[in-house]
């Protein structure tokens, strides 16, 4: 239950951040999406032992986190979620690889950087502008609407599951979690109610003219700001990928 409430809180906190008005928030969603993609590609194409060459990529979160008013702690906490599997691969690699420790460090840093890049993206871009951008890129309407509606109903169903779970525990035997033999009717009941709800939603949509021809909304014009942002993010990412900045710096001294 604590889990479920925590998930809801996680969704809510990101939405609140995305609703902010910082400089970064105002950048065109297309620029932010492309920037994130290029950053990730460059970062992840570095090799297994390239610990030092990863460091220039720290600049991106280091600048964007404060610029967009995104709390560092949150990013670190979420990155922790992604760590276990990477650690599993990294730590077991230590036994088979003379430079395993180095590879492990690279893996941890890669995890941290890639997770913060994605989180930064959603922390500064509301889901609705992301999906609007996807529509403009001609991603099938079915997929985009599905994404939006799923997101919308996750909150509702998380709430409902949490309350139901509370009711279960109040009369339950005090053990943690749901007993296997009750799970069919418990989760099945939730599922059937969800199904009925879907039917009602469909009716509501019908009443408001759904389905209609697809509308692609006009893109907000690309501003100079967006071009600068895109150039800065992509340019630096590619540059750091092409030249070994730390070594150059190290040689200078």
């Amino acid at each position: 239950m604590a889990d479920i409430r925590a998930k809801t809180a996680a969704l809510t906190s990101l939405e609140q951040l995305a609703a902010g008005h910082s400089l970064i928030h105002r950048v065109h969603p297309a620029a932010k999406l492309l920037g994130t993609a290029v950053y990730l590609l460059c970062l992840l194409s570095l090799g297994r032992y390239d610990l030092t060459r990863l460091t220039p990529y720290l600049l991106y979160p280091a600048l964007l986190l404060p610029l967009s008013d995104t709390p560092c702690g949150m990013v670190l906490r979420r990155a922790a979620v992604a760590l276990p599997f990477c650690l599993f691969a990294g730590v077991s690699g230590v036994f088979f690889d003379p430079y395993g420790v180095l590879a492990l460090a690279v893996l941890v840093l890669r995890t941290l950087l890639s997770v913060s890049a994605v989180l930064l993206l959603v922390a500064v871009t509301p889901l609705s502008s992301l999906t609007a951008q996807l529509r403009r890129w001609h991603v099938p309407a079915l997929c985009v609407s599905l994404l939006e509606m799923t997101y919308r109903y996750i909150g509702t169903l998380l709430d409902e599951a949490a309350t139901m779970y509370t009711a279960y525990r109040l009369r339950g035997s005090g053990k943690k979690g749901l007993e296997m033999r009750h799970m069919g009717s418990f989760v099945g009941g939730l599922l059937l109610r969800s199904f009925d709800r879907a039917e009602r939603i469909y009716q509501a949509m019908q009443c408001r003219g759904y389905p209609a021809a697809e509308h692609v909304r006009r893109a907000p014009p690309l501003a100079a700001r967006d071009a600068v942002y895109l150039a800065a993010v992509c340019g630096s990412s590619v540059l750091f990928r092409l030249i070994d900045l730390p070594t150059l710096l190290g040689r200078m001294f």
């Binding site: 509301p126 609705s128 919308r152 009716q203 949509m205 009443c207 408001r208 003219g209 759904y210 909304r217």
Partner: protein, 241 residues
């Protein structure tokens, strides 16, 4: 405005929810639809916008409801469901309100105007960028109403609009509804609300019209209400012991 003749609604499993009903609602008229659980109120409202199949005739402003006129009629008749959670499915309230007008093919600038107007009318302009997830029950109800008002309907169908509301939110709703022009058919269990907002009232029983008349008379008539499976206001207020 709204005319039903010998309207019958049958579910696929054979349940007859509305059974040969005749009813007329004039332009701008406000009618409460009262009846016990299962009397057929929701089914009636859904049939009026073609969500449930029916036999008999439904006309809206002289246009008879059938396959070809469905779109036109849905643009004129707006329905607000019982549970606002089922009606708000877009990421933000603003987009939710824009959903209907946009589907009816309005150009983007008119859509934006409609959204602004509908939100202003209900006094919830500040909710435009919010997501439905975090709104209180009362705010959600208002947002659902706005989604329908934005379609500039000639008639409003409301299904239990006061469910979930605290007394103050309920009051806000009543105030918001008062100046609206569209004709109105309101299914509700909240009899004081019905008396307050609808001069006319129709009692349903087993899918048929059981009585039709002034709310101030019918809803206080204990024998009539009892026969229809609900309870008169008097009993409610006196504590009914």
């Amino acid at each position: 405005m709204l005319t039903m003749q010998n309207l019958t609604v049958t579910y696929p499993d054979g349940t007859v929810a509305v059974d040969g009903l005749d009813l007329t609602v004039a332009d701008g008229e406000r009618v409460a639809l009262i009846g016990a659980n299962g009397a057929g109120k929701t089914s009636l409202l859904l049939a009026l916008v073609g969500v449930l199949p029916h036999t008999g005739t439904v006309t809206v402003d002289g246009v008879t409801l059938d396959k070809h006129t469905l779109g036109e009629i849905r643009a004129r008749v707006g329905v607000v469901f019982q549970n606002p959670d089922d009606q708000l499915f877009m990421p933000t309230i603003g987009e939710d309100v824009a959903f209907g007008p946009r589907n009816h093919g309005l150009p983007e600038d008119q859509v934006a105007r409609r959204v602004t107007d509908a939100l202003a009318q209900l006094g919830i302009g500040h909710l435009r960028e919010r997501t439905a997830l975090k709104l209180s029950g009362g705010e959600k109800r208002m947002a659902a109403l706005a989604t329908v008002l934005a379609m500039a309907p000639a008639a409003l169908l409301l299904d239990e609009p006061t469910a979930f509301l605290d007394p103050r939110a309920r009051r806000t709703l009543i105030r918001a509804l008062a100046p609206l022009v569209p004709a109105r058919l309101v299914a509700t269990h909240d009899l004081p609300f019905a008396v307050d907002t609808c001069p006319r009232c129709v009692l349903l029983r087993e899918g048929r019209v059981f009585a039709d008349g002034a709310s101030r008379t019918l809803l206080y008539d204990e024998a009539l209400m009892e026969a229809c499976g609900v309870e008169a206001i008097g009993i409610l207020e006196s504590g009914g012991k």
